[in-house]
């Protein structure tokens, strides 16, 4: 019985294990903050690429699309080398802190948000363009209108970004260091417990992580449906 991952997951949750809850809370904080920052930067970037024509635009789109597949360890390595004392941003002293993990996840999520929102906004723009020009809107005035009208698609894109952020381990392991009580999150705990050969516990943590992601998705779906019903 105690070798069953679902049993382990359930007892972990029911026992309100303080260490587990701290890990869950930190995972959520880091990934949500990373997605928030990535959205604030990535959505306007996606909209801008959709709206403006400039030299190198095609190249930028290819790069953004390609970066959606950026391996997390590579993102981790880049952030590690930048934040390391010997690196250009070493002065910040951020390595092995949650802040470094947020930065690494932003790097992973930003291309997804920018590339997918670019696609969606461009699609919408095709439909709206004449009306916008007729209304005398400048390109920069079109950005908020397009982003708002693409909100349901953007919510889904946001969830894809959150999924990537909360599921990856390579980057946060490298820049966070998996320090107990400081930078240990769900995924790095799973790696650690697997390393210790505690496979049922590792899988149990996996079940908890999955439930968490499902919960976030359910909330987003619910919010989406509510607003969709109200404003179409």
């Amino acid at each position: 019985m105690e070798n069953n991952a679902f049993y382990v997951a359930l007892s972990l949750l029911l026992n309100f294990d303080a260490a587990l809850f701290q890990i869950v809370a930190l995972s959520l904080q880091i990934s949500l903050l990373a997605v928030l920052v990535a959205a604030v930067l990535g959505f306007p970037l996606g909209a801008a690429v959709a709206l403006w024509r400039f030299p190198g635009r095609g190249g930028l789109i290819v790069v953004l699309n390609a970066l959606m597949g950026l391996p997390p360890v590579v993102a981790g390595l880049i952030v590690y080398l930048s934040l390391s004392r010997a690196g250009p941003l070493g002065e910040w002293g951020l390595l092995f802190t949650p802040g470094a993990m947020v930065i690494a996840q932003v790097l992973l999520v930003l291309p997804i948000l920018a590339a997918l929102s670019r696609q969606k906004v461009e699609e919408l723009l095709g439909e709206y363009r004449e009306q916008f020009v007729s209304l005398g809107m400048s390109r920069s005035r079109m950005v908020p209108t397009l982003l708002w009208d693409a909100r349901f698609a953007l919510l889904t894109i946001l969830l894809a970004g959150f999924g990537r952020a909360s599921a990856e381990v390579g980057a946060v392991m490298m820049v966070g260091g998996n320090i107990e009580g400081v930078t240990r999150v769900m995924t790095t705990s799973i790696v650690l417990e697997t390393g210790k050969g505690n496979l049922p516990l590792a899988l149990g943590l996996g079940v908890v992580l999955l439930s968490l992601i499902m919960l976030v998705n359910a909330c987003a779906y619910w919010v989406g449906e509510m607003t969709r019903r109200r404003t179409g």
């Binding site: 709206y128 020009v133 209304l135 209108t145 009208d149 179409g232």
Partner: protein
């Protein structure tokens, strides 16, 4: 009514609507001339109906006049100072994915109408176009007729000096067509210059002050509506009115 809107109304009612001039305008795509060269001036009160068979260049002419397209050669110009306030209603209304009233408020916001007066102007316009009951309905679930009326209401709140309509009733049922035509008359009475394309002769007879007749990308005649319907000058217009197939 806010002072802002009142002053706009006053200005459009007192002054004659601005005159539109095409001066040897040509529009071509990939070396193929699609429209022109054409020259004309819209000075009379209108409403001006742009007529002609399919592919004659009616929509092109409207888009060039409205500034959605730039002429390959020649010039589009307006009398008076600067570019007059203008709006356009499309065959397929382009509505934002928001409620009916939010669509109007967005248009007002884009036109820098003070935030405080937006809601009142929007609701007044919805009321005027018989849309009060669905002001909070998502615009895209409205019926075709309601959507077109919403597009007209959006044009209304902008108090344009010029209103372009591109086949606004071609996808509507008779009741909805009647509502749109009533709205066009209301705009006209407010002093807005109306430039509208239609392929419906009866509609043109009901609305037109003057007619621009196009075929094959060229203006065949531009005459007051009485003249056009009773004694058309060009062979193409004669054939068109007689119900023949015109190229």
């Amino acid at each position: 009514m806010t002072a802002f809107n009142a002053s706009l109304l006053a200005s459009s009612a007192l002054c004659p609507p601005p005159a539109l001039s095409f001066d040897d305008v040509v529009f071509s795509h990939e070396d193929k001339v699609l429209l022109g060269p054409c020259s004309f001036t819209l000075k009379s009160a209108g409403p001006s109906m742009v007529m002609g068979p399919n592919g004659a260049g009616k929509s092109l002419l409207l888009r060039l006049a409205h500034g959605l397209l730039t002429p390959t050669q020649g010039q589009v110009s307006w009398s008076g100072e600067g570019r007059p306030r203008q709006a356009m209603v499309f065959q397929q209304p382009v509505l934002l994915r928001r409620s009916a009233v939010a669509n109007l408020i967005h248009a007002l916001a884009v036109n820098k109408v003070p935030r405080k007066s937006r809601a009142k102007l929007a609701f007044d316009a919805l009321d005027r176009f018989g849309l009060s009951a669905c002001s909070h309905t998502p615009a895209r679930v409205l019926s075709g007729g309601e959507q077109q009326r919403l597009a007209l209401a959006r044009a209304w709140v902008l108090s344009p000096n010029v209103l372009f309509l591109d086949e606004p009733t071609s996808a509507l049922d008779p009741a909805a067509i009647k509502a749109v035509e009533a709205a066009v008359r209301e705009f006209h009475q407010r002093g807005t210059r109306i430039v509208m394309t239609t392929h419906d002769l009866h509609q043109a007879r009901r609305l037109a002050g003057d007619v621009i007749f196009l075929s094959g990308g060229k203006i065949r005649e531009h005459t007051p509506s009485d003249t056009f319907f009773d004694k058309p000058v060009s062979r193409e217009a004669q054939a068109f009115i007689a119900g023949e197939l015109v190229e």
